[in-house]
């Protein structure tokens, strides 16, 4: 049973560029959440997708957008990259999105913006 997978593992971009990160949830999971983890900080919630719709969103600008596909996989897009977007981006999956469900995290994509 594959866990949560993310691609790519590492990415280097320059300011102003756009980036797309991908996530495949754990088998049987239908909810995907994205988190940003800056160096020395805990993960911060970006947004969550359930039934192909953004269900809730954290305090991130509109430059951060996402999508969920019918197979529950998800993409995170960041436009007009800033130096401050450099971070580890984590995807987490769960089932149903209820408060009692454990979230399983992927290995993350490390983004460096130069």
């Amino acid at each position: 049973d594959a866990g949560v997978t993310q691609s790519p593992t590492h990415l280097i971009k320059t300011r102003g560029q756009q980036v797309t990160l991908r996530c495949s949830p754990k088998s049987g999971h239908d909810t995907v959440s994205w988190y940003q983890q800056a160096l020395g900080q805990g993960p911060q919630f970006i947004f969550q997708y359930y039934e192909e719709e953004e269900r809730q969103r954290g305090n991130f600008p509109d430059r951060f957008s996402g999508h969920q596909f019918p197979n529950y996989s998800s993409e995170l897009n960041v436009n007009a990259l800033l130096l401050g977007d450099s971070a580890l981006y984590l995807c987490a999956s769960s089932s149903g999105g209820g408060a009692g469900e454990t979230q399983y995290f992927g290995p993350g994509t490390r983004l460096l913006v130069l």
Binding site: Q56, G97, Q103, F105, G106
Partner: protein, 112 residues
């Protein structure tokens, strides 16, 4: 502001020593609480969680945590650490619909 606080960001201790990591949160109402661990080079993984019932929760690898509602705390403990417990530990609160709010983490180094 609503937050999750973890103190003593860096902890260094010897094998067989006891470990306690503090976690305080400021969210009101019913909360679900978690401790996650990230071993070097590995994913974030769940150590233990509290939803309701017995406030003393047992997790994997000998860890336990106690929920004290009156103190808004969920402290993590292990009576005797091993070198393999070297990791970063994160406390998290389920704010709404599985939206997790994390603390800044505790970097724990166990010296053999």
């Amino acid at each position: 502001a609503q937050s999750v606080s973890q103190h003593n960001h860096h902890v260094i201790l010897s094998e067989a020593a006891s470990l306690e990591l503090g976690c305080n949160y400021s969210y009101g109402g019913t909360v679900n609480l978690f401790w996650y661990v990230q071993y070097p080079g590995q994913h974030l993984q769940l150590l233990l969680k509290y939803f309701s019932g017995d406030p003393l929760v047992k997790g994997i690898k000998g860890f336990e945590a106690e929920f004290i509602k009156s103190k808004f705390s969920f402290n993590l403990r292990k009576p005797s650490v091993q070198w393999s417990d070297t990791a970063e530990y994160f406390c998290a609160v389920n704010v709404r619909n599985n939206r997790l709010a994390f603390g800044k983490g505790n970097q724990v180094v166990v010296i053999p």
